[in-house]
């Protein structure tokens, strides 16, 4: 391989009591790559990230960053990495500058260097004006920008981002995405990002690992992942039917050629179908039921479709299932999978 791997993950497993959060995963991340872990909430993405960033001890398996083992050489690993967590690592009662000075001082960066770097970073995310304001007064977008530059104080070779755009408005999300891209291109920082947002993964990542129930079920570039669908005889069809009835939806679902049928609103259907005569079959079915087709489009596959195709369920579905499982009767106290951070 031409480019060396900076992260090597080997049969990594994490169990919380009897619940397996991360199930024997193995993958490499190349230097300078933006690597995405895509999957629903509770799929084990964050736990993987916590293990890689020395915050959680693996039950089994190993991971190395650079040449250091995340358990045996955790102190060395910490010098190489930065982490942007889903929970913002930032003290509301301290000012922007105090926050950055505090975290910077933990890395033993000389004072002048640190001060210069803090000014540069604040400038970079346009927060210089609020340098001496308490972070608690900031908007969510501003705080997330603080949270990101906090992770960059030690100029990490590897940056871990756990759901960095969660809870942000579209504009702030775009800003954060652009910033990550820029960082990757200009500094050569390797970025590992977890997300359940298909857009994030699609726009940012060089390679994407699709994670479900603690396992990596597909790993490739976005383009190649989509080829799983568009390469074969699988098609994605969007249908608008003026008089769509539950009965009609049921009969389309009953068709052999239909892999996945999702009703998007009262008139439109999103279908993943396969086979040469799929089009004919569907149109015939609708006609037989007196359905009125107002529009029909053959769509480019998205990562969502890929996920749907591989797992057979929607990203949101599995998140819901997980919540139901955890909140189910009798499972709230002790019985169910307990996750303690």
């Amino acid at each position: 391989m031409a480019i060396e791997s900076i992260i090597k993950v080997n049969h990594l497993t994490k169990m919380f009591n009897k619940f397996t959060a991360v199930d024997d995963i193995t993958f490499d991340v190349k230097k300078g790559e933006i690597f995405g872990l895509l999957g629903p909430n509770g799929a084990g993405k964050s736990t993987t990230l916590r293990m890689l960033s020395t915050l959680s001890r693996p039950t089994k398996g190993t991971a190395t960053i650079g040449e250091y083992d995340t358990v045996k050489n955790d102190m060395e690993v910490r010098k190489l990495i930065g982490i942007v967590s889903e929970k913002m690592i930032i003290y509301n009662r301290l000012t922007a500058k105090e926050n950055l000075s505090f975290f910077g001082s933990l890395f033993n960066i000389p004072k002048e260097t640190l001060n210069k770097r803090i000014d540069d970073l604040l400038e970079l995310v346009q927060l210089s004006k609020w340098k001496n304001a308490q972070v608690g007064t900031f908007s969510t977008g501003m705080r997330q920008r603080m949270n990101v530059i906090r992770a960059l104080l030690n100029m990490p070779q590897v940056l871990f981002l756990d759901e960095p755009t969660l809870g942000l408005d579209p504009q702030s999300s775009v800003e954060i995405r652009d910033f990550i891209k820029k960082l990757n291109q200009e500094q050569g920082t390797t970025v590992i990002i977890t997300t359940h947002m298909m857009v994030d993964a699609d726009l940012l990542c060089d390679r994407i690992a699709i994670v479900d129930h603690g396992k990596i079920i597909a790993l490739d570039t976005s383009t190649n992942l989509k080829k799983i669908i568009s390469g074969g005889d699988t098609m994605i069809i969007k249908l608008e039917i003026a008089n769509l009835t539950p009965d009609l939806v049921a009969s389309i679902k009953g068709l052999k050629c239909a892999d996945a049928v999702t009703q998007e609103n009262s008139t439109s259907l999103h279908l993943i179908v396969h086979g040469e005569d799929a089009f004919d079959n569907i149109v015939d079915t609708i006609r037989n039921k007196n359905g009125k087709i107002t529009s029909m489009a053959n769509l480019q596959p998205t990562l969502e479709d890929v996920f749907l195709h591989i797992t057979g369920h929607e990203v949101r579905d599995s998140a819901d299932q997980k919540i139901k499982q955890e909140m189910g009767p009798g499972k709230r106290f002790g019985g169910g999978p307990r996750r303690v951070r």
């Binding site: 915050l55 967590s85 929970k87 690592i89 301290l94």
Partner: protein, 390 residues
């Protein structure tokens, strides 16, 4: 990682914690108000001279006299009045009968009463002992005991006076040949508050640590900022020491306030060195911190941590001899109290503040507190490390 970096990191963490504390205005106010309440409460509930005044008692005079002479009972009442005018211990009301008196005590309108039976004058005049009955409210043992004690004192004084009168002699016989005077180690009259103030100081500082730690550790864990420290190349000991230092600083602030209040408002005299008092308060904090960290590390969130702290704090408060002397307790309770650091902290403080002890006299307590603190931190470190990287 050198010792210097470890200390530098802990200093920064402590500084950060204290900055956060000072920015939290309400928290800061409470930090000052809490010991104030504590001291004011204890200081005024337990009156500093240890006496009770203005107790409401009823007086029932059923004396039927002796051949129309009521002198003994009249004399008794005048005497009682005379003594009470000096001490203001009682507020006396006349009650018709013993039954009425009991009724009034049951209603809670009187705390007790004095009954002069109908044969009082007859007995005294016929050179027999006159009996006076004290009725007391047994539902309140403390008041009951005080009334009995107070009235006994009155009777004693009156009895002596009467005996002298009856003997009608001049300095030939000493009616009460023995008189006992107590003398303490120090001059002055230490009050209950003097006894309790050192304990309250130690306890408030302990409570400050025990309530401060869940915030300092569990909350950081909960909101996620702890990860920021854990993911930096910082020795875990630095985090613990930093938290310890911050809590000690916080305890020191409260210690100064309490000490100021004790001296300024409640007139507590500090017989020993004031520096030693401070040193003991700090040592007290140090000995609790390790324990607090172990507890907070085990709990999942701040709420549980605080509840657990409260559960532990109450027995500690009462078993450590802060309010009641340990010697009063049954032996098994005394054994338990010997396991609590607060016992030694308040004991040592009491020795220094009330008895004017120096370091040699409290060496045992000092050693125990230091040892307890070190052992607890030694236990806390691996527990903390383990819990934070689950």
């Amino acid at each position: 990682m050198t010792a210097k970096t470890i200390l530098q990191h802990s200093y920064r963490i402590a500084k950060k914690d204290l900055t956060e504390l000072f920015r939290n205005r309400l928290g800061l106010v409470l930090l000052i108000v809490m010991p104030l309440f504590m001291m004011v409460m204890v200081g005024f509930i337990y009156p500093s001279n240890g006496t009770i005044t203005d107790l409401k008692v009823g007086v029932v005079n059923e004396d039927s006299g002796f051949n129309g002479v009521f002198a003994p009972s009249q004399g008794f009442l005048t005497g009682l009045q005379g003594i009470n005018n000096q001490t203001h211990m009682l507020i006396m009301t006349d009650v018709k009968s013993t039954a009425d008196l009991k009724d009034l005590v049951q209603r809670g309108q009187l705390s007790g009463g004095i009954v002069i039976p109908d044969n009082f004058s007859r007995s005294v005049i016929s050179r027999q002992q006159g009996t006076v009955i004290i009725v007391s409210d047994e539902s309140n043992p403390q008041i009951s005991a005080t009334i009995q004690g107070a009235l006994r004192g009155v009777f004693d004084a009156m009895g002596t006076a009467l005996a002298q009168q009856n003997l009608n002699t001049t300095n030939i016989a000493v009616i009460k040949p023995f008189n006992v005077q107590a003398q303490g180690v120090i001059s002055g009259h230490p009050s209950y508050f003097d006894f309790i103030a050192p304990g309250i100081m130690a306890m408030t500082v302990m409570m400050s640590v025990m309530t401060g730690l869940p915030v300092a550790i569990s909350q950081e864990k909960e909101i996620g900022t702890m990860d920021g420290m854990m993911v930096a190349p910082v020795n875990r000991l630095s985090i613990l020491l930093g938290k310890t230092m911050a809590q000690t600083g916080r305890g020191l602030i409260q210690g100064v306030i309490i000490l100021g209040l004790a001296i300024g408002i409640f007139g507590v005299a500090i017989q020993g060195s004031i520096l030693l008092v401070f040193a003991l308060l700090l040592l007290g904090v140090f000995s609790f911190v390790g324990l607090g960290i172990v507890i907070t590390s085990f709990t999942k969130d701040q709420e549980t941590a605080q509840m657990l702290m409260m559960t532990l704090m109450f027995p500690m408060m009462f078993l450590s001899g802060v309010f009641f002397p340990i010697q009063q307790m049954p032996w098994y309770m005394q054994d338990i109290s010997k396991l609590l650091p607060l016992t030694y902290a308040s004991d040592a403080l009491r020795k220094v503040m009330v008895l004017g002890a120096g370091i040699p006299q409290i060496a045992n307590e000092l050693i125990i507190l230091i040892a307890f603190g070190i052992v607890m931190i030694a236990i806390a470190l691996p527990v903390f490390r383990r819990m934070m990287t689950r």
